[in-house]
């Protein structure tokens, strides 16, 4: 039996009344979000949540720390090792950082559960913490909140791990480029309709199918949600009722990012009874769904602060300027709208061609096309296609040009027409020089960065001379 043996959480005492962002005076009882104070960050919040979680737990028993965050301040240097030291854990503790996505928290939890289930580790402390920034007075600033969560995974759980279901997805709905302070999102409806909703739905449905359970088997469902409304539609479609849904705490806490779903899980466990089933799901570049069954051991869990205590403990900050100062923000900063780079929606539609390098083979005549058309140019059959992966095929050069006009780090850009399995594919060519390019030359295809529009690396495939030997 594997599962969650203990939990802890942290929410900063300071709250930013949302009316202050809008330049109106704060009103007692009005909507607010949690906000880390000037001396707090993702690590300090993580340590505090971990100490809460380890109440009554021998520190020496912890074998591993998995730290999940997208806002840990250092790019090179581990957060988990710092947290382990602050917690005075054993020297031979296994430490890992999980980052790069808001589902890193759920991912770290799933990894910990698998490790303990496999008996590779006995006690894994999963800590997730985020202190993300939306641009001042931007749409995200009022939706975000700051906080942390910690879960101890062992073979003696208060909530037994039943099953998990995870999936990966590639779309640019929420992102922050290296060096940027503010999180960006593509148009809300795209992010919700093509990212959040289908991924969460598929993950939860996959979990239900894997466990053979249905919605009514769960006492609580704790779902990551980017706003107060979006989880409702997913859950309703899956057959969950309003009273099963764990309150996402908008107006009190805000979207805390990486720890968010796990904080809601902790809040659910605080009032759970033995036998209750709880489902938790996180989102970001795909989704994780995990189900737990609360055990009798929950009654013996030492008292702790967790979510309820932290939510009740609050102090509104007096002004928007106080918030700006605490976060080191300049009121004149705002989200740059100029160069978003590639359209996220186009990139989303074309990901099979551009990222997976999939062409299509006509099921009527066998002709391969790239990218996949609707109507076959050879036999005019409509919508009869099977995917045809070009990335591991070999082609030959039919035509070329050397473009000195197109901005490139090392002009000229070598543009070639290749033929691969009867299909014409126009790509750039790399690993060569103009003098070495020749008609009929055999090529392979390599995944490369094409440009940095929008400050992001944008990828596609290029031709490369087919290497037959390494002389």
């Amino acid at each position: 039996m594997t599962g969650i043996a203990a939990y802890g959480a942290y929410v900063p005492i300071t709250r930013l009344p949302l009316s202050l962002i809008a330049g109106r005076p704060a009103k007692e009882g009005g909507p607010e979000r949690s906000v880390a104070d000037y001396d707090e960050d993702a690590v300090t919040m993580a340590v505090t949540a971990a100490i809460d979680c380890l109440t009554g737990v021998a520190r020496d028993s912890v074998d591993a720390v998995y730290f999940a965050s997208t806002s840990y301040p250092l790019r090179e240097k581990q957060g988990a090792a710092l947290i382990a030291k602050a917690l005075d854990l054993r020297r031979d503790v296994l430490t890992q950082d999980h980052t790069g996505s808001l589902r890193a928290g759920a991912a770290a939890l799933e990894s910990a559960l698998h490790a303990v289930t496999a008996r590779a580790l006995r006690a894994v402390l999963v800590v997730a913490s985020d202190c993300r920034l939306g641009a001042p007075r931007g749409a995200l600033e009022a939706k975000f909140g700051d906080g942390a969560v910690a879960l101890l995974v062992t073979a003696s759980p208060i909530a037994r791990f039943e099953a998990s279901f995870s999936l990966a997805d590639e779309l640019q709905d929420v992102w922050r480029i290296d060096g940027e302070r503010f999180t960006h999102t593509w148009e809300d409806r795209f992010a919700i309709q093509e990212g959040y909703t289908p991924n969460l739905f598929a993950a939860v449905l996959g979990l239900l199918e894997r466990t053979g359970r249905s919605a009514e088997d769960f006492a609580r469902v704790a779902l990551y949600t980017p706003d107060e409304r979006s989880s409702g539609g997913v859950l309703k479609k899956l057959g969950f009722k309003d009273q099963q849904v764990q309150d996402p705490l908008f107006g009190r806490l805000g979207n805390t990012g990486t720890p968010f779903a796990l904080m809601l899980l902790v809040h659910a466990l605080e009032s759970a009874r033995p036998g209750d089933r709880v489902l938790v799901a996180g989102y970001g570049d795909g989704a994780h769904a995990l189900s737990f069954e609360v055990t009798d051991a929950i009654g013996a869990l030492a008292p702790r602060r967790a979510m309820s205590w932290h939510l009740a403990r609050r102090r509104a900050i007096p002004s928007y300027d106080t918030y700006l100062r605490a976060r080191g923000l300049d009121a004149k900063e705002w989200e740059a709208g100029a160069d978003l780079g590639l359209s996220a929606t186009i990139r989303f539609r074309e990901r099979d061609a551009d990222i997976a390098f999939l062409g299509a083979r006509c099921t009527s005549c066998g002709q391969v096309h790239f990218p996949k058309p609707r109507v076959c140019a050879k036999c005019f059959a409509k919508d009869g296609w099977e995917p045809y992966r070009l990335s591991d095929r070999r082609g030959r050069l039919l035509a070329y040009t050397f473009d000195y006009f197109f901005p490139a780090a090392e002009p000229p850009t070598i543009m070639v027409m290749t033929e691969v399995d009867g299909c014409r594919v126009q790509v750039q060519m790399t690993n060569t020089r103009p003098a070495d390019v020749a008609l009929e030359q055999p090529v392979e295809y390599v995944f490369r960065k094409i440009h940095d529009a929008g400050g992001k690396p944008n990828y596609f495939w290029k031709a490369s001379p087919l290497e037959t030997s390494h002389g």
Partner: protein, 383 residues
């Protein structure tokens, strides 16, 4: 089979503004210059009454049809705007011709214009809005046939250079051209490379410009002027994308081959080289002109370079091509180009082309090819 368009519609007035980097001329200025010259050419002094509809072409339009209505103060009338790569002007002309042939209007204005020089870049805009199909530059698109054509027929950059030299010469004789400077083959070969095999002089310049013509019913034409020019054919054809077509041979452009076949059938032309007297073709790049000689059936596939060497297509040759200097010297304000060619061919057919006049010209073809390239427009005018 429907009837041919031949001889149903007449061009009774043409006009063009000065082409160039018109920093001090607005889009309104250019549209008005071109249209009012065409009005005057047609003897129209009350355009608000006589012009029943406008067919416009522009690839960089700003305010849709409103900027045309505002410029010309033509209100309460139908104005259509075509925007489709380099054949935009020819296509706008085609809609105008069809509207007259359909009997819907007696007299319409066709105006093509563009002002790419307000974009702040020299040459075409470079886009990074996708990862596939880059670099998406016209030079990159049109150079794609070079390597295989050269290898198959033994042609090279020197053959292309002679075309640039010819067009630069012709441009010195056209009052409204942008570039009026003779160049040498050496100049062409030594210029910086844009997209191999194209050096700077192998490429048409970017410029601002507008051109216009007045169309009317053939039976009304002589009420405007004594020497109207008649539309013999107007054709548009869209071909397979050359970067995807599994049968593309890199030796010629299919859009031209398709459109020429249709246009010659409309005009009743069976031997284009013998029957045509003057040709304006789309020399966006020197190679485009070389291939188009063949694609239009003016010579056999692979033989174009011999004709370039012998001067077949020069002024004074057997079939002068790009008598005004073409895109090479006028630049290529995309929407204007097709109409600018109608302007030149009309002057040629009416014996008004001055030092670049082709003696006794009675049948003239104009040609645009655009996109990667995928689309061609051809118009044939005659006396």
């Amino acid at each position: 089979m429907a009837e041919s368009i031949r001889d149903k519609v007449a061009v009774v007035g043409v006009g063009a503004c000065q082409f160039g980097e018109n920093w001090d001329r607005s889009r309104e200025d250019m549209i008005v210059d071109a249209a009012y010259e065409a009005y005057a050419d047609a003897g129209i002094d009350d355009p608000q009454r006589r012009i029943e509809a406008v067919f416009a072409g522009a690839v960089y339009p700003r305010e849709g049809t409103a900027e045309i209505a505002e410029a010309l103060k033509l209100f309460g009338k139908p104005i259509s705007l075509v925007s489709d790569y380099c054949q935009t002007g020819t296509d706008a002309f085609r809609y105008g011709v069809f509207s007259i042939a359909a009997g819907v209007y007696d007299t319409v204005l066709v105006v093509g214009f563009d002002k790419p020089k307000d974009r702040g870049v020299s040459g075409p805009s470079v886009t990074f809005d996708r990862v596939r199909g880059l670099p998406a530059t016209p030079a990159g698109w049109f150079s794609l046939c070079a390597a295989r054509y050269f290898e198959t027929f033994g042609a090279g950059r020197e053959d292309l250079a002679k075309i640039a030299v010819k067009n630069h010469h012709n441009g010195t004789l056209a009052p409204k051209s942008m570039l009026k400077r003779e160049i040498t083959v050496k100049d062409v070969l030594e210029a910086r490379i844009i997209s191999w095999p194209f050096g700077l002089y192998d490429c048409a310049a970017q410029s601002d410009g507008a051109a216009a013509c007045v169309l009317t019913r053939a039976d009304l034409a002589k009420s405007f002027r004594d020497d109207p020019v008649y539309v013999k054919a107007v054709s548009i054809a869209v071909a397979e994308h050359p970067q995807r077509d599994p049968n593309f041979d890199f030796l010629g452009w299919k859009p031209t081959i398709y459109a020429a076949k249709d246009a010659y059938a409309q005009a009743g032309i069976s031997e284009p080289f013998r029957e045509l007297d003057v040709v304006q073709l789309h020399d966006c790049f020197t190679l485009t002109e070389l291939l188009t000689y063949e694609d239009l059936g003016l010579c056999k596939k692979g033989e174009a370079k011999e004709h370039v060497a012998s001067g077949t297509f020069a002024l004074g040759g057997e079939l002068p091509v790009n008598t005004d200097g073409g895109l090479k010297t006028f630049g290529h304000p995309t929407g204007a180009t097709g109409v600018r060619m109608i302007y030149e061919n009309t002057l040629q057919l009416q014996g008004r082309a001055g030092p670049r006049q082709v003696p006794g010209a009675s049948l003239a073809l104009s040609h645009n090819i655009g996109g990667p390239p995928t689309t061609c427009g051809i118009a044939i005018l005659g006396r």
